[in-house]
């Protein structure tokens, strides 16, 4: 029995960290909800299974020292933990995105040849 095709995008393993890092690099400090909303907006359809999936990526990046979290007030005076990219994080974006482009390019070429 064929299952109904999912509208959600399946992420390649490890790409979520790069996506979050890149988003923070372009958007500036952001809380998890803001990040999730922004990613859904960019992807034009639900990117993730649910917004909670972001948290493991955030803790991974924070432990690597690429982002740093701090509690602040939102515009609506709510408490939220804002994540900002660090210097190491900015350097990591450069190296990680280059690696990503190389990989994507390779996959692209392979697909072109196959088709």
């Amino acid at each position: 029995m064929a299952s109904k095709p999912s509208r959600k995008v399946e992420l390649l393993q490890g790409t979520l960290d790069l996506i979050v890092l890149q988003a923070l690099a372009t958007m500036g400090p952001q809380h998890a909800y803001g990040l999730a909303a922004r990613l859904e907006q960019v992807a034009e359809h639900p990117l993730l299974l649910n917004q909670g999936t972001l948290y493991p990526a955030l803790v991974r990046l924070e432990q690597k020292g690429w982002i740093k979290g701090s509690w602040q007030k939102t515009e609506n005076n709510r408490d939220a933990k804002y994540y900002a990219i660090t210097k190491d994080g900015q350097a990591a974006v450069a190296t990680q995105s280059e690696r990503w482009y190389r990989l994507a390019n390779l996959v692209d070429k392979l697909f072109l040849k196959e088709s």
Partner: protein
């Protein structure tokens, strides 16, 4: 760098999770609040907005788990929880935990102490380079296989020339003791002499300076032991290469030997000073003791032995090789000749004890885990993996085991010095013994392995076997299954105990036989005085005067003296060959010796003080000596000579006097020494066995001869401390203590398991009581069922004693394991202990009130 940082943070979070957990909770709550605000702004009611927010965020528990996995290590987290649970269980059951730790401490300490000695004797490699290439040369009798330590000097000379099978040959010889003055009085320092090649064979490197060389001065150039260097020269660096004087002996110190070195020889294994010895000569007629050879590279022991045989046959006179041929033995056979079998047997006994303790622990856990099956069943039904279930149980045992083994090492370390005093020196020779890190780690490892194999596996098996039917059927009772597991545990404990009790019985019986061996003299209530005066021309007269003074003392019933005492291990002063080549030893005694030692005179008369004056060549023969020298002829009035110009005439015949246990040719001639007297021990028979008598004896000698130093001791102390007695006594004591504790442990094990049987079958027993079974019939039923595995264990154990008997005969001192008396005694002791320990818990079955039990159910 980023990865390392993350790894460290994950480890920190795994150990201290509480802060991060609160943080993520707060963050999720904030996230939900933001989502709710947003949904409400889009027109949802607060309640719809809350539902939608939760849906969008996802399950909070899953997020928290995913967050925990990312920030820490889940397995470490689970490990921490399981460990905490295990510790809580141990604290909750603190009484059974304490018993378990005590049992393991006991077994572990026995193991550690045994290993403290056995490690040096059995396992540790010798302190030489490539010890497997070193062999000690001895002579072997072609007929009996017996080893002789004296090797002809000319054979050594043959080996000293370059040879394809041997790369080097070295000789060590005993040296004279150097007397030095210390604050505590004069002290003898052991010396030896070695050829320049000796340390080359052993592959020993000098600790300071250099080793001996051929160009050095024989008897003068010397190596110091590490201890001697520290004790007599304060570890001074400048001593090396200098000429010094130790006592009155001048030495040129070439170097210092490494610490802890001991040499493959019985005498002089740890000499303080080793001087250069001359190389063996091919014309030499003498002999050397314990020469060592190093096999050439790539030469097997068999090839080297064959080369040695042909060398001896070709190079030695035929007379020298007719009875004996040289043999290459591993250094251990010289270093630990008696020690290896003793330690192997004791190591085996302590391992049996350790396994017994672990099985005992399993039966203890069986009782403690009675309620665990239900908990495990619930967790299995909820989908918990076997690993999650196994881990708390595993940790409980590991923690108990580590606590037991750890305290065992501490106990062993504390008691080792005093226990070592009981171990006969022959068991470990000169090897360094003690509880070091290596022994501690092996004890810990052995404790863990035996606990895991013999406690954890059966306990786990039992818990799972009880839990699975509960999962499948939901049945509430699991009464019979625990008992099924308890039965083999009891059987194994009984079998192991039978082995230990059997060992104790046969060694104990052999020791009692040994104590009852007729010695030919009576050492009870006899004081032995070693007199410290220098022999001179009037030595005999002086001694006789002293004996006369002593014999007049009120406490003294007889006083005599001898140059050598039975059981002191010394060779006779003189000797001669009788008919058929049998040897008769001549020992010198002063009149009064026979009376003091209570040696019966069977014919003729004893030696008297008058003999010393007017008949100095009078002699008394032992019954064996009379047979050897005179056959069927009457020995009284007969004569014999010592081959050096002195002719004795026989005035009496005494009963045989044993010179040591196993002495099968006690042929002795006892004669007055005259000028041949070189040393003397006084024997004084006292009317009391009070120690104060010894002191007054010493005082009497001192007032009779003020310049004489003397110490008095009981003759029995000296005799029963010789290896012949110490060895069996030590083995008997160890095995008796082990088997007594094993009996106690097994009894506890049976009490626990049978108690478990009664507790888990209370309902069934109550029904039986309700339909008319009497209390005594219920007790009988429980005892019957309890004794069934005891019977199985008894049979297995008794069968195993046949194997143990072979081992005991091969490894222990002379024990007789044939005959059924030892087996019957063993079975009776174990069965009696089992009966009592089955009866005690079974009494509960007889006291059951069915109404109470069934009402509760």
């Amino acid at each position: 760098m980023a990865r390392l940082r993350r790894l460290l943070l994950r480890l920190v979070h795994a150990v201290r999770p509480s802060h991060a957990e609160a943080e993520v909770q707060r963050e999720l709550a904030a996230h939900l609040a933001l989502l709710e605000d947003d949904f409400q702004r889009k027109g949802m009611t607060p309640s719809d907005a809350r539902t939608a927010a939760r849906k969008t965020l996802g399950g909070a528990d899953q997020i928290r788990l995913a967050h925990r996995d990312a920030r820490a290590f889940r397995w470490m987290d689970e490990l921490r929880v399981d460990l905490r649970d295990a510790l809580r269980t141990l604290v909750r059951h603190r009484r059974s935990t304490a018993i378990a730790v005590l049992v393991l401490t006991m077994a572990g300490a026995v193991n550690a102490v045994t290993l403290g000695v056995a490690d040096a004797v059995l396992f540790r490699s010798l302190p030489y380079r490539d010890p497997s290439s070193i062999r000690v040369l001895q002579m072997r009798s072609a007929k009996t296989g017996q080893r002789y330590t004296r090797v002809p000097e000319n054979l050594l000379a043959l080996l000293g020339t370059p040879h394809e099978a041997f790369s080097a040959v070295g000789v060590l010889d005993d040296g004279p003791r150097i007397t030095i003055a210390t604050a505590d009085g004069p002290r003898g320092v052991a010396t030896a002499s070695a050829t320049a090649t000796y340390f080359e064979v052993l592959g020993v490197r000098p600790y300071r300076g250099r080793l001996l060389s051929q160009q050095d001065v024989v008897g003068r150039t010397a190596l110091l032991s590490h201890d001697a260097w520290l004790t007599y020269f304060g570890g001074g660096e400048s001593i090396v290469g200098q000429s010094v004087t130790l006592g009155n002996t001048p030495l040129d110190v070439a170097g210092v030997l490494p610490p802890g070195l001991f040499l493959p020889a019985i005498f002089g294994a740890k000499p303080a000073v080793i001087t250069l010895a001359p190389a063996p000569k091919s014309t030499g007629k003498g002999g050397v003791f314990y020469p060592v050879v190093r096999l050439a590279h790539g030469i097997s022991v068999e090839r080297a032995q064959a080369a040695l045989d042909s060398l001896a046959l070709a190079g030695l006179p035929e007379a020298d090789t007719r009875d004996v041929l040289p043999v290459l033995d591993p250094p251990e056979t010289v270093l630990f000749r008696a020690g290896r079998p003793i330690m192997q047997a004791l190591m085996l006994a302590s391992l049996v004890f350790l396994v017994l303790a672990s099985v005992n622990l399993a039966s203890l856990l069986l009782v403690r885990n009675r309620d665990r099956a239900r908990d495990v069943a619930v967790r299995l039904a909820l989908g918990a993996s076997r690993t999650r279930i196994i881990r708390p149980l595993f940790f409980e045992l590991i923690t108990t085991s580590v606590a037991g083994a750890g305290s065992a090492v501490l106990v062993a370390k504390l008691v080792f010095p005093s226990l070592l005093k009981q171990v006969p020196g022959v068991a470990y020779g000169s090897a360094p013994v003690g509880i070091d890190l290596r022994v501690a780690l092996i004890t810990l490892g052995l404790g863990l392995v035996t606990t895991l194999v013999f406690s954890f596996l059966p306990t786990w098996h039992g818990v799972m076997r009880d839990a699975q039917p509960l999962v499948l059927t939901g049945a509430g009772s699991h009464s019979g299954r625990g008992w099924k597991l308890g039965r083999p545990l009891v059987a194994v404990q009984v079998a192991l105990t039978v082995l230990l009790v059997f060992g104790a019985t046969v060694t104990g019986r052999a020791f009692v036989d040994l104590l009852q061996t007729p010695l030919g003299f009576d050492p009870q209530q006899v004081a032995r005085l070693s007199v410290g005066w220098a022999p001179g021309p009037n030595f005999q007269e002086q001694s006789m005067r002293l004996l006369t003074t002593i014999s007049r003392l009120p406490d003294v019933s007889a006083a005599g003296a001898a140059s050598q005492m039975p059981f002191d291990g010394s060779a006779p002063d003189d000797g001669l060959r009788g008919t058929g080549g049998a040897r008769v030893g001549i020992r010198y005694v002063l009149p009064g010796f026979f009376e003091a030692a209570r040696i019966p005179i069977v014919r003729g008369r004893t030696l008297t003080p008058e003999d010393a004056q007017s008949d100095p060549d009078a002699a008394v023969l032992s019954a064996s000596a009379a047979r050897v020298l005179f056959g069927d002829r009457d020995p009284l009035g007969g004569t014999f000579d010592n081959g050096r110009g002195r002719t004795f005439h026989v005035v009496g015949v005494s009963s045989d006097i044993l010179q040591g246990i196993g002495d099968d040719s006690p042929a002795q001639a006892l004669a007055i020494p005259g000028r041949d007297l070189r040393r003397l021990t006084l024997l004084v028979r006292l009317r009391t066995n009070r120690d104060s008598s010894l002191r007054s004896l010493e005082q009497a000698v001192k007032s009779a001869s003020p310049t004489t130093r003397t110490t008095a001791s009981w003759w029995t102390d000296g005799i029963f401390n010789v290896t012949d007695y110490r060895n069996p006594r030590f083995q008997t004591t160890v095995l008796s203590v082990l088997s007594a504790v094993a009996l106690l442990l097994t009894a506890f094990g049976i009490v626990g398991v049978v108690g478990f049987l009664v507790a888990s079958r209370t309902r069934e027993l109550a029904i039986r009581a309700a339909i008319g079974a009497t209390g005594s019939s219920l007790i009988a039923m429980v005892i019957r069922q309890g004794l069934a595995p005891v019977g199985v264990g008894l049979v297995i154990g008794l069968l195993a004693t046949r194997w143990a008997a072979r081992l005991a005969e091969a490894q222990l001192f002379k024990v007789d394991t044939t005959g059924f008396s030892a087996i019957i005694a063993t079975a009776a002791v174990v069965l009696a202990a089992a009966l009592v320990s089955t009866y005690l818990p079974s009494r509960r079955a007889g006291r059951l009130n069915p109404a109470d039990v069934l009402r509760v159910d």
